[in-house]
């Protein structure tokens, strides 16, 4: 396991704060998810339900059912998958699972070439910037993880190419990161998730 120093933003002071980027999702991160992320998420879901929002509602967090332990177990030991986590003040603030092998690029000019595919990316619920949530503690965690995926793509010789399917609630984030939105496909994820991809040039601009 390797640890890197990164900076995220303390949302209240708007000052950079040092955090740790780990090239793994370990048991400690899964315990944080299980006992801290989910507790905050449950508070938010109760709040939404109390306000009459249902699971089909636009505000209902679309990653609410994600089970990070299952996602990590599913690919444990596989060379083509890896994970990253961001830790700040001894608590996991974000996690990402990558697929390095089973997807290829789709954009004209790079179609068929290997890329880093982001299987899942999520930040801790207390960092969400949502109307039903408490004010976020930290910002910039998603950007750190996207930068990590892009850097991994360069390190793998994939020239910065990164792809992902986005939950509808995260579309704006990936557009702001410079990804190209290739839209939805009725044969993928029931046509609900748009596919995004970043080229070498877009990746360099993001870094």
């Amino acid at each position: 396991m390797t640890s890197y120093s990164v900076f995220i933003i303390d949302a209240s002071s708007r000052q950079p704060v040092e955090a740790e980027l780990l090239d793994t999702i370990g048991e400690r991160q899964l315990l944080d998810w299980q006992f801290q992320w989910r507790r905050t998420l449950e508070t938010y879901l109760r709040r939404l339900a109390d306000n009459g929002v249902t699971r089909q509602g636009l505000n209902w967090p679309q990653s609410w059912h994600w089970d990070w332990r299952a996602k990590v177990d599913e690919v444990r030991g596989l060379l083509g998958h890896t994970g990253y986590s961001v830790i700040c003040r001894d608590v996991t603030q974000g996690m990402m699972r990558l697929d390095l092998v089973s997807r290829t690029a789709r954009l004209d000019g790079q179609a068929g070439k290997p890329l880093v595919y982001i299987d899942y990316l999520e930040i801790a619920p207390w960092n969400w910037h949502e109307s039903y949530a408490d004010p976020p503690l930290y910002r910039g965690i998603g950007q750190v993880l996207i930068r990590t995926a892009i850097q991994r793509s360069f390190d793998e010789g994939f020239h910065g190419r990164v792809g992902l399917h986005s939950l509808p609630q995260a579309v704006t984030f990936y557009e702001h990161c410079g990804f190209t939105n290739l839209g939805t496909n009725p044969n993928e994820y029931r046509g609900l998730l748009a596919y995004f991809e970043i080229t070498t040039e877009q990746a360099r601009a993001f870094l």
């Binding site: 060379l79 083509g80 390095l100 092998v101 089973s102 068929g112 290997p114 010789g157």
Partner: protein
Amino acid sequence: MSKKTMTLNLTEAEMSALEALCAKKDLSKIGLMRQALRLYQMIDTRVERGGKLYFEDDQTREKSEIMML
């Protein structure tokens, strides 16, 4: 991460195939071998778990199973 080194002896045909794939996929030889190992391991694991590997014709939807040896 510590790394190990190995020497790989390939026939002319194997080297030609490797170089052609490297050009097509925009990868170095090392990168391509690494991808091949990842893919082989992933498929082998999925098949061992009871999965089947198919190619499906986009037009006819006809499926042909790939046998892993």
